[in-house]
Amino acid sequence: MAANQTSPTSPQFSTGLSLGRVLIYVLLILCALYYLAPLYVMLTTSVKSLDEIRSGNLLSIPLNPSTYAWSKAWGTACTGVTCEGLAPYFWNSVKMAVPAVIISSLIGSVNGYVLAHWKFRGSHIVFTALMVGCFIPFQVVILPMARVLGMLNLANTTSGLILVHIIYGMAFTTLFFRNYYVSVPEELVNAARIDGAGFFMIYRRIIFPLSLPIFMVCFIWQFTQIWNDFLFGVVFGGSDAQPVTVALNNLVNTSTGVTEYNVNMASAIIAALPTLGLYLVAGKYFVRGLTAGAVKG
């Protein structure tokens, strides 16, 4: 993304310590505190005891940090009717997200290759028609999808969820790869074609080796989308294939018994850890995915 560069384009300002610059820094730091506060609150609450939560306040520092809430959230907390913690649902999400991300990215890569370098009559219309899939509210397809999954015996299974995520992820992955491959010089592909390289040969020898950056972007974008999905999970997940977002929602919104805020917060962090970790490790690609997803080619 352009913001990573040292930016020769932005206007030259005096970098001295004027009142204005102090004000800018104060505003920026206030904003940073606003964004960090919920994370701080979640983390500290998750290591406090319920008594400490009642006697202290949101920002008070935990005096006797304990991992009790974390182990309960992972292993024994009740999500609705069962009390096995988040662990099984966390693994459901892993089993769903990993294959769905890989398959939808590979499909997107080949599609993007065709749409960028093997244009045929009507391929522009095909591309536009595919892009509609990025925009529709999924509520408009879930009723027939539920029916089809039922007929395929895939209702309430992880395989069913994988299928759904692949189908509705293809539009985005195709968009990513197509926009990236358009920047691969046409002459390069044409030269290979004159030399007699065929469709797959060019993909394997030229296009695919260049694709690592865009595969990173696509993996991260798709993983975030699929891991964080709630609608498909709650509608098609049933009780066996429920992803972690659905389990977390059930846990947080359970109205019976005492609300254990520390367990709730530990669960929320557990559900957020994979995407948060990915963001910390590969934030650059994450941002690139966001901006590429927002600005249609």
Binding site: A2, N4, L28, F135, P137, R193, N228, L248, A268, A294
Partner: protein, 331 residues
């Protein structure tokens, strides 16, 4: 901005390509190819791309277009627990418009969508302009503003549900700090619950708006700004009159994405208020889910889904039209 990205990637692409360019990968193929097999290869090159793309095209025709058509048809039947394929005209829509809860949901979408987009735009643009002033530790600040985007709306909802919890959360904090009369119970106030969704939504998405605007700001032509500075224009004037107006295409993208997030928002409301208290913070996405899956009113659910699609189209189509028109006029 997209142009900037493209040049970046083109550069890296050409760098990597050079070595393989000296040795065409296809030499062996061309050397051994006979005339019949090259004919075959030419044919394959015409049909293979279409063949490769066809599963996606078919899937898209069935699972996007076909399913929209099916939902549309379902909304014109009397389906309740089970689908019933007998045509019944627009009775479901008539019934939908008679339901007070639907209008509460629609009004909430208007309140939430409007305020969510407005506050995201303001905070996002402000942060981007501030960050554009050659700031130390810009990268770290950017990362902090953006991380909520990595979280799911369910996690965001759970966190804010705890912070906004009357009695224990923010309210208790203010009491501890000596503001004994402070009261903040929007979460359980049926008139105010929808505004708590705005608070959490803006926290989650405004960093993303900042990222888009910042990328746009970095793409603004420097020479125009320098010329204006030579003319003695002040910095705020330069931003107001030159820089921000040139971000027009970014505004469109941001509006497009935010409107889309707002209309389909389901998880955030589910986690934060679950549509409550009562149905006071209901939105169409929750209405659709509950009528279809917990109340056994498939026809009504389908009708409400079609209304959601209509809303998306009503927002997106004019925006896309304006954006492409803007592009055609050279911006």
């Amino acid at each position: 901005m997209s142009a900037l990205r493209t040049t970046n990637e083109a550069n890296t692409a050409s760098k990597v390509i050079k070595p393989s360019g000296t040795k065409p990968p296809s030499r062996t193929n061309a050397a051994t190819g006979k005339s019949t097999s090259s004919q075959f290869a030419a044919l394959a090159d015409i049909w293979l791309p279409r063949l490769v793309l066809s599963p996606t095209i078919i899937a898209s025709l069935i699972f996007v277009y076909g399913f929209i058509a099916l939902t549309a048809y379902l909304s014109l039947t009397e389906s309740r627990m089970m689908p019933n394929y007998e045509f019944a005209g627009f009775s479901q829509y008539a019934a939908l418009f008679e339901i007070d809860r639907w209008w509460v949901a629609a009004a909430n979408l208007g309140i939430f969508g409007g305020l969510f987009i407005l506050f995201c735009l303001i905070t996002g643009l402000l942060m981007a302009v501030l960050l554009d002033q050659k700031i130390r530790a810009e990268g770290a600040l950017r990362a902090i503003y953006l991380y909520p985007m990595a979280l799911s709306f369910i996690v965001t909802g759970a966190a804010w549900k705890w912070i906004l919890n009357p009695g224990l959360g923010l309210e208790k904090l203010m009491h501890d700090w000596g503001y004994k009369n402070f009261s903040f119970d929007w979460l359980v106030d049926s008139d105010m619950a929808i505004y708590t969704v705005v608070i959490a939504g803006v926290w989650q998405s405004s960093g993303f708006v900042m990222a888009l605007f910042l990328a746009g700001l970095r793409g603004v032509d420097d020479s125009i700004i320098k010329a204006a500075m030579v003319d003695g224009a002040s910095l705020p004037t330069i931003y107001r009159r030159i820089v921000i107006p040139s971000l027009r295409p970014v505004f469109f993208s941001v509006l497009l994405v935010l409107a889309h997030i707002a209309i389909k928002s389901f998880d955030l409301v589910m986690a934060l208020t679950a549509g409550g208290p009562g149905t006071s913070s209901d939105v169409p996405a929750i209405f659709m889910y509950q009528f279809s899956f917990t109340r056994g009113q498939l026809g009504l659910g389908a009708a409400s889904a079609m209304m959601m699609l209509a809303t998306v189209l009503a927002v997106l189509v004019p925006l896309m039209y304006m954006e492409t028109k803007g592009a055609a006029h050279g911006r």
